[in-house]
């Protein structure tokens, strides 16, 4: 299968980006003259611009569209109003194998009761859309806009200045709220106070055919702030420092929101959402394993799939994500640990790093203070 490319692909190639496959999309990992460490630092201390057009976009429209989405996805749309966005999960419905497992985690933009925009992950967009389209009542239409819409993430403590410099609205937005530029027929740009880095930031949705011009304009407006284009390599180190889950690592068909500590994104009092019975039962019983952070003070970075061991060398869990923390200058990881192991914040355990047990400390993420609000 040929990898799909972003509308900005030619610009990335011209900028000397290293490309890699993300969910079937060929996207930048890092840029020439940059690298994960300097791009990471730009976002923590200044501002960085990511192309995340591999993320899916889809609209759900028609009478009762929002109520329909609310009856499927986990979070409670009643907690937000039009002009606000929400992190939510699409779980496997009750009655199916692995009910309560996670099909995808996504952002829902509530435009109106009859107009909702979804931003799922690249690899899972098709599965989420197929499930919603199958379940949609008459009059509600699910439309894939993946290739029509480009998505940027403008992130960092100087992001508001850059947004102002490029003439986009949104400096006054509260966390998880969005605004649109005036426009029609796809000319508008949607700006949302959100992100995946733990810093103050925005995600911009723009029509694919206008994406190049906006990308150039944002980079130009960011020059005084020494803005950097940032690849998905630093996006991963940034989100891991915050303990944010990544589908396929901390969330999957086999890893429920209870296990991943994503229960905050579940509207437990709602009468219906996919996987409700299975998730309530698991919550009641207590999940068999839960997500923790690990700090690795020595050499050797815990990587996904490595075993976590107790003092006796017995396996008590598995690393789901692991990387070098550019902020802490040490290895950090997220890991699912068995409840029966009885570990908690501050416990000393080990990770089997290629046959060598490496001492690590169990901690509760985030590893680095959040500045999103």
């Amino acid at each position: 299968m040929t990898a799909r490319t972003s509308p900005l692909h030619d610009r990335h190639v011209a900028a000397g980006a290293k490309l890699a496959d993300f969910g079937g999309w060929s996207m930048p990992i890092e840029y020439a003259g940059g690298g994960v460490l300097s791009e990471h630092t730009a976002v923590r201390t200044g501002v960085g611009l990511f192309d995340v057009s591999h993320l899916g976009t889809a609209t759900v429209r028609g009478p009762g569209a929002a109520a329909f989405v609310d009856s499927c996805l986990t979070n409670d749309l009643g907690r937000i109003g039009p002009g606000q966005a929400q992190y939510t999960l699409c779980c496997i419905p009750d009655g199916e194998d692995r009910a309560g497992g996670v099909v995808d985690d996504l952002i829902v933009y509530l435009h109106a009761d009859d107009d909702v925009l979804l931003v799922p992950n690249a690899a899972n967009a098709a599965a989420v859309l197929a499930r919603l389209a199958d379940a949609a009542p008459a009059g509600v239409t699910v439309t894939d806009r993946h290739t029509e819409v480009a998505v940027f993430a403008l992130q960092g403590p100087r992001s508001a200045e850059v947004l102002a410099g490029v003439g986009l609205p949104g400096q006054q937005l509260s966390y998880m709220s969005f605004a649109e530029t005036p426009g029609a027929g796809g000319d508008e740009v949607t700006v949302c106070r959100t992100g995946y880095t733990g810093e103050h930031g925005y995600e911009l949705l723009v029509a694919a055919d206008r994406a190049g011009a906006l990308w150039d304009a944002v980079l130009a407006a960011g020059e005084p702030e020494q803005i950097r284009p940032c690849g998905l390599g630093s996006r991963d180190t940034l989100r891991t420092e915050m303990g944010y889950p990544l589908h396929g690592h901390e969330l999957s068909a086999d890893i429920t929101p209870n296990q991943a500590r994503s229960g905050w994104a579940v509207g437990w009092r709602k009468p219906a959402f996919w996987g409700r019975a299975a998730l309530l039962a698991e919550k009641e019983a207590g999940p068999a394993r839960t997500l923790w952070g690990l700090r690795a003070p020595g050499r050797g970075i815990p990587r996904p799939g490595m075993a976590v061991l107790d003092a006796a060398g017995e396996r008590i869990g598995e690393v789901t994500s692991g990387t070098f923390s550019p902020t802490l200058r040490t290895g950090i990881a997220l890991a699912l640990l068995d409840r029966t192991a009885g570990v908690g914040d501050g416990s000393e355990v080990a990770v089997d790093v290629r046959g060598r047990p490496q001492p690590v400390q169990v901690v509760k993420p985030p590893f680095v203070e959040s500045h999103v609000r």
Binding site: I29, V36, L37, S38, G233, T237, G300, I301, R303, F324
Partner: protein, 134 residues
């Protein structure tokens, strides 16, 4: 991408350079290539064998770890570790910035054989061809 012709290379993306005059014994300096450091990305840890340790050609003797992956370092020749670049402990990024110079990894004393023990390894042109056609 640089391929200096004052040294030899392996298909494991290491370079080997004779220090002083070749003879018996011969001291060789070992590092990873510009291509290797570029492929790894920002290097954050380097683990090297102790001085005095015996190493066997083709066997792993250390690791170079970047933000995104880890790569074994293989001994290009058999011998005994004569020196290691301990400056990399505090400044592993030197391997990125100067892979053929200050970013060297270890020196190995090669005891046996006559003449240049690196002669059988790839020359710069052959290594460049390997990288560009892979």
């Amino acid at each position: 991408m640089a391929f200096p012709d004052d040294r030899r290379y392996t298909d494991q993306h290491e370079w080997v350079q004779v220090q002083g005059a070749a003879g018996s014994p011969t001291v060789v300096r070992i590092g990873i290539t510009d291509h290797a450091q570029d492929a790894l990305g920002d290097i954050v840890f380097v683990q090297l064998p102790d001085v005095g340790e015996s190493v066997t050609a083709g066997a792993a003797i250390g690791e170079v770890e970047s933000t995104k992956s880890v790569s074994d370092v293989y001994a290009p020749l058999s011998g005994v570790v004569a020196a290691r670049n301990d400056a990399l402990t505090d400044a592993p990024e030197t391997v990125n910035s100067d892979p053929y110079g200050e970013g060297w990894l270890v020196e190995v004393t090669v005891e046996d054989g006559d003449g240049d023990p690196t002669a059988a390894l790839l020359d710069a042109a052959a290594y460049q061809a390997l990288v560009e056609h892979s």
